[in-house]
């Protein structure tokens, strides 16, 4: 088991949906589990989906609650479909974003990914690019191993977070599950807090249609 402390300057975890011009693009109250898994895969230089196939599990929560919150304006690409021209066009429009500031996460990982994380913390991971948690603006400025009292994310009814995201724009929505923050800050991981990455259920085999041969009358 390896326990990480991750500090991030800002965080915007967009709740998917259409955001009209100058309206607020809302954020989830905490990074969704799928984002945390993506962060770990990126840190270790692995492809998306590697964590789910590695028999690893994780738990996460706030080491410190966000220090601040604000709405910032940013140009965003908005795709709209034009029914007359019968094509989709890309527009750049200003969108207000709900942004969290000064975030400290604690994340505990158990399983095959532990060794990969240790390698990354020794600077030996073969990876590409700079590290961020969320969007490319959300700079990670400190990662280290630490054990400390944490407000864990556990199954509950106070917020819905996606456990599987990025299934394509306009085709399939993310898969959600209910979560809540554990009231008591604890050092050790509660049993409920362990999460396993979402596995796509195996598709049932296609039924082959047998030709019905009728007996001649």
């Amino acid at each position: 088991m390896i326990s990480l402390l991750v500090k991030v300057v800002s965080g915007h975890y967009r709740i998917p949906g259409v955001v009209p011009t100058m309206m607020l693009a809302r954020t989830y109250p905490i990074a969704p589990p799928s984002t945390m898994v993506g962060f770990i895969e990126s840190m270790c230089g692995k492809e998306p989906g590697a964590f789910a196939n590695s028999n690893s599990k994780f738990a996460y929560g706030w080491f410190n609650k966000p220090g601040g919150r604000g709405t910032l304006l940013r140009l965003d690409h908005v795709w709209t479909s034009d029914k007359v021209l019968k094509k989709t066009t890309d527009h750049v429009r200003p969108v207000k974003r709900d942004v969290l500031f000064d975030l400290s996460y604690r994340m505990v990982v158990e399983g095959a990914f532990e060794e990969l994380i240790r390698e990354a913390l020794d600077g030996k991971a073969k990876r590409y690019g700079l590290l961020y948690l969320g969007e490319s603006d959300d700079m990670v400025y400190w990662v280290t191993t630490k054990t400390a009292p944490t407000k864990w994310v556990v199954p509950g009814n106070s917020m819905a977070l996606p456990i599987k995201a990025g299934r394509g724009f306009g085709t399939l929505s993310p898969i959600y599950r209910g979560f809540a923050f554990l009231e008591m800050d604890t050092d050790e991981v509660p049993e409920d807090a362990w999460l396993e990455p979402y596995h796509e259920p195996a598709k049932p085999p296609k039924r082959s249609r047998k030709k019905i041969v009728r007996a001649p009358r």
Binding site: V9, K87, S136, D137
Partner: protein, 306 residues
């Protein structure tokens, strides 16, 4: 640590006290522009947006002699309509060969690109098929991740509500029009990370000092601002590191007292570095005997070693 860290470079930029006018460009219903804010604790702090800082770095790059840029904007004035930006369809031919494109254009090298043109991605044309205006250059969306990451810039002191009142000129008939704009006299700070490992692999380390030179002064402010604020560093703090995202070069404004009326005190940053077991380098006449120029030269010299 047995070997020198050399995979990433982190630079913390702390500006001189300045009047922030990086307005968000949209009014609150009245005829006035406002700053962007974040609420930390019981106070509001004004923000220099990350994309605005990146825009400032691009402008500074474009002002340098003999630098070829992909963007069409001029740093001294905006172009409108078709002249303002190159379309993605125009782009696809030139960035089809990534190695050639980054060799030629410094902004594509550091800031990356993505051709999100119609027909790219899963609907892209097949390999070998000729790319048309509707189709993209290949099966995959041509994209490149940037080698530079800029955090949000935050003010070091809370905003107390200073507002200026001016008379501007209406563009249409030349009449004077009164308007207000929020102004914040403060220091700003932000962090920049560079991916040296990738830059070294691509054999273009000689381009990094050019970008570092941009940190001597940035114009971060929209054209709609009353004045374009010149963001000049009072101090630069930097560090080379190997673990991704482990620069340690950021601190909450509530933890430090970098108010504009006080002398800049970096002791909190040094203490935090000492606690975590690393050292940081500092440049800036106000905080160390080194000037900003000498500091940038020291980074370039260290880059020669690493």
């Amino acid at each position: 640590m047995s070997k020198e860290s050399n995979k990433y470079l982190g630079v913390l930029f702390i500006s001189r006290p300045m009047t922030g006018s990086n307005s968000c460009g949209e009014t609150d219903g009245g005829n006035g522009s406002r700053l962007q804010f974040v609420t930390i604790g019981n106070n509001t702090y004004s923000v220099l947006n990350g994309p605005a800082i990146r825009y400032g770095i691009r402008n500074a790059l474009q002002r340098m002699p003999e630098i070829k840029m992909w963007r069409k904007h001029t740093p001294d004035g905006y172009l409108y309509g078709k002249d303002s930006v190159r379309t993605m369809v125009e782009a696809k031919g030139e960035v089809a060969d990534e190695a050639k494109a980054i060799q030629e254009y410094i902004d594509l090298l550091f800031f990356g690109y993505m051709i999100a043109a119609e027909g790219s991605g899963k609907n892209a044309v097949a390999d070998g098929e000729e790319a048309t205006e509707k189709g993209a250059a290949g099966k995959k969306t041509p994209k490149r991740r940037g080698l530079i990451q800029v955090s949000m810039g935050l003010s070091t002191s809370p905003f107390l509500g200073d507002t200026s009142f001016s008379l501007g000129t209406k563009a249409k008939d030349g009449e004077l029009c009164p308007y207000t704009g929020q102004r914040h006299f403060t220091r700003y700070y932000f962090t920049v990370h560079f991916d040296l490992e990738r830059l070294r692999e691509e054999g273009l380390m000689d381009r990094l000092p050019i970008v570092l030179q941009c940190l001597r002064g940035l114009q971060v402010g929209g054209k709609q601002s009353a004045n374009l604020a010149e963001v000049v560093p009072e101090a630069l703090v930097w560090r080379f590191f190997d673990v991704p995202g482990q620069s340690g070069l950021w601190v909450s404004p509530t933890e430090v007292s970098w108010e504009p009326e006080k002398k800049l005190d970096l002791q909190r940053l040094f203490d935090s570095a000492a606690d975590c077991g690393y050292t940081v380098n500092v440049a800036g006449n106000a905080v160390s005997g080194t000037s900003i120029d000498d500091g940038l030269k020291a980074i370039t010299k260290a880059l020669g070693k690493v």
